[in-house]
C-alpha cells in the first residue's frame, strides 16, 4: 500500500489516475487531492477516496468543499498549494497544467519518494533545475507523457540505444492545407483523432509544439543529444516511441491510446499491474508510419531551434504559446495567429541565461506580457 498525492485531480490526467487507483485499490491509499476550482468533481472524488489532505488552489472555490472536510486538512490558494506540496508521501502525481506546476513540483521533490510527472512545461522551461534537484533528493521522476514514458520503459532496461523516435499523431489538422488554417475553429482543433487530453495540449498537438516539447523532455530525461531524437508521423497513436540500436533494429512500445496505461506504469513502477486492457491481437490492426514533412509544422522547427540555444528561449516560447493558445481557445484570435505570435516573440526576445529558478518565472512573465501586447495590437 503506497500513499499517493494527486496534483490536478479534476483534470484529464487526474481523473484517469484515479480510475487506475480505483482498479488497484489494494495498492494505493489516496492521501491528498489537489484541484484548481472544479469543486463538483473534487467533492465526488473526496467522497470516493477519503483523502486526509485536500487543496483548492482557487481560494473562492475552496469554500465549496469546506462541508466535506471536517476530518480533512484543507489547504487553499497558492500558499496552500505549497503546503500541500510539502506533505510527505510515497508517490505523487504532478498533473497541474502549464508552468504553474513548477513551484509545487520543486517543493514536492523534497517530500515524495517518487513523482509521476505529467507536466511537461516544468521540464521544457526548467529541466536542469528539476532533474538536478530530484537527483540531490534521490526522488525518482517518472514521465507520464506516453512517448517519454515509452522511452523510460526502454531505458529502464539499461540497454544501449543509439537513437530514439517519438511518434506524432499529427493532431487534428494534419491534412489541412495552409490556406485553410486561418478559418479553423477551436472545436475542430480540439477534436483530436486519437487522444482525449486537456485543451492546451490538444491545440499544441495540432501545431506540433507538443512534439517539440517532448523532444526536449527526451533530451533531459535520457541525456540524449538532440540529433539522436527523431520524430515519425503515426496517425494511429498505437506505437508511442521507438528505440533504435546501432544495427538499426527497432524496439517499439505499443498499446492503444489510453492515458491510463502510462499512468499505471508510472504509479506502479517497477511493478506492472494487470488491470486495464483486454488481450492483444483479437482483431485486425493497421499501423502506418511516415516521415515528417519539413516545413509543415513551423512551430516545431522554432521549438527545436530554441532547444539548441542554451538560454531562456524555451521559457519565452512556452509562455508565448500558453497565452496564444488561451486567446485562441477563447475565440480572441485565429489559429494562425498562434504561429504569428510565436514567430514574432522568437525573433524579438532578449536572450539571457537561466541562473536561478526565479529567472524562469521572470522570463515566463516577460514572455506572457509581450505576447499579450502583440496579440492586442494584431
Amino acid at each position: 500500500m503506497k500513499t499517493i498525492n494527486i496534483f490536478g485531480s479534476t483534470g484529464s490526467i487526474g481523473k484517469n489516475a484515479l480510475d487506475v487507483i480505483r482498479r488497484n485499490k489494494k495498492n494505493f491509499e489516496v492521501l491528498g487531492l489537489c484541484a484548481h476550482s472544479n469543486t463538483d468533481t473534487l467533492c465526488a472524488q473526496i467522497k470516493e477516496f477519503s483523502p486526509s489532505y485536500v487543496c483548492v488552489v482557487d481560494e473562492k472555490s475552496a469554500e465549496e468543499v469546506r462541508h466535506l472536510t471536517k476530518k480533512i486538512k484543507l489547504f487553499k490558494g497558492e500558499n496552500g498549494l505549497r503546503d500541500f506540496a510539502s506533505v510527505d508521501c510515497d508517490t505523487s502525481l504532478m498533473a497541474i497544467s502549464g508552468i504553474s506546476a513548477l513551484r509545487p513540483l520543486m517543493i514536492n521533490i523534497e517530500h515524495a519518494k517518487k513523482i509521476a510527472l505529467a507536466n511537461k512545461e516544468s521540464i521544457v522551461t526548467a529541466g536542469n533545475f528539476v532533474l538536478s534537484k530530484a537527483k540531490k533528493f534521490k526522488t525518482k521522476i517518472l514521465p507520464v507523457d506516453s512517448e517519454i514514458n515509452a522511452l523510460y520503459q526502454f531505458f529502464a532496461l539499461k540497454n544501449n540505444f543509439s537513437k530514439v523516435y517519438l511518434t506524432a499523431s499529427g493532431g487534428a489538422l494534419f491534412n489541412y492545407k495552409p490556406k485553410d488554417l486561418k478559418k479553423v475553429r477551436a472545436e475542430t482543433v480540439l477534436s483530436h483523432p486519437t487522444w482525449r487530453m486537456g485543451r492546451r495540449i490538444t491545440i499544441d498537438s495540432a501545431t506540433l509544439v507538443n512534439k517539440g516539447f517532448e523532444v526536449i523532455e527526451a533530451h533531459y530525461f535520457f541525456n540524449l543529444p538532440y540529433e539522436n531524437i527523431g520524430i515519425v508521423v503515426h496517425r494511429e497513436s498505437t506505437v508511442h516511441a521507438f528505440a533504435e540500436f546501432a544495427d538499426k533494429t527497432l524496439f517499439a512500445c505499443m498499446y492503444p491510446p489510453d492515458m491510463r496505461m502510462p499512468i499505471s506504469f508510472a504509479l506502479n513502477y517497477p511493478k506492472r499491474i494487470d488491470a486495464l486492457k483486454a488481450s492483444n491481437f483479437k482483431g485486425r490492426l493497421s499501423l502506418s508510419f511516415q516521415p515528417l514533412k519539413r516545413g509543415q509544422f513551423p512551430l516545431l522547427d522554432i521549438i527545436l531551434k530554441a532547444a539548441l540555444r542554451k538560454d531562456n528561449s524555451l521559457v519565452i516560447l512556452n509562455g508565448c504559446d500558453e497565452v496564444a493558445v488561451e486567446h485562441f481557445l477563447s475565440g480572441k484570435i485565429k489559429f494562425t495567429d498562434i504561429y504569428k505570435a510565436m514567430n514574432y516573440i522568437f525573433s524579438h526576445y532578449k536572450s539571457a541565461k537561466l541562473k536561478t529558478l526565479d529567472d524562469v518565472f521572470y522570463w515566463d512573465a516577460y514572455a506572457k506580457e509581450k505576447t499579450k501586447e502583440y496579440l492586442r495590437a494584431l
Copy 2:
C-alpha cells in the same frame, strides 16, 4: 577477432552469414567452412575467406575442392563432419538443414563457446538434449530464426514478460481457398512474399509447420508455457515478435525482412554492429496484424497438439514433414498430400518417450520410412 566455423556455408543462411562477416572483417576470422555438395560456391568461399578447415559432407564432391586445400585440412563424409564439429572455435553457425544438424550440433557444443543456431529441427526434435548439454558445457546458444532471435533480444533484457507473440507472414498461399490448394505447384509455394529462404522452410511457411516449430523453439529457449506463446498474422514480416507485459503493453522488435539482421545479432552478440541497414523511417511504412483463423492451417494445429504430448510425436512429425516436402518439391505428390501424410502419420504413430539421443534418430528413421510407404501407396 573471433574465430568462426560455418556449418552449411553454401546455403541461404550460410551465404548471408558470410556477407555479414565480409562487412565486418576485422571482427571475424573464418576458421572453417562446411558444405554438403555445392562445391562451386564452396570453392569461391574458400578463395575469399581462406579458412584453415574445410568439410564436404558428400564424399564424391569432396574431390572437387581438393586442389584448393593444400594448406587446408579437408574433412569429408559423415565422419569428416563429426571431426569438423570437433574443431575448437569462438563461434559457430549451425546452418545445416533438417535433423542432419543434430549430431554435429551435439558434438560442436563441446567445442564452440557460442553457437548461432539457424537449425530449428534440432530444437523441435531434441530441445531438451541440446539445451541441457549446452548448459553443461556453458556454451551459449543464440537462435538465428528471426522470430526467436527477436524474443532473445527481449529476454536478454532480463525483464518479466507474461506472454509473447510470434508473427507469421502466412506464406505464399495465405489467400488461397482450400479447393485451390490441390493444384498448386512447387514454384508458387516457393515464391515467399517477404523472405528469401531455403526450400523446405519456404514450403513449411506456407503450411505454417514452420510457425509451429517456432512455437516449440520459443518454449525451449525461454521456458515459456505453450499457452503464453501466441501467433499473429503479419504479412509484411517487419515486426518479428512481440513481448507482452502483465499490463498488456507490447514491445515489438522490428527490421525489414533480411536474415543478415538476426545473423549479425547472433554472431556479434552482445555487441551490435552498425554495418547493414539504412536509416529507419525515410519513407512510408504500413504494417498490418490480424488474428490467425482457427482451422485455416491444420498442420499448425497438429504440431501444437504434438508439442503438448511429452513423447516422440514431434520427431515423428518432423520426419514426416521432411519426407513429404521433399516429395512435393520433386513433383511426386500434390501440395495437399503433405497434409494427408501428416494427418495419417499423426494418427498412426507409436507413442514412446525419448530417453536418449539415439531414440530421436530411431523415431526419425521410423517416421520417414512410414511416410514413404504411405506416399507410395497414395
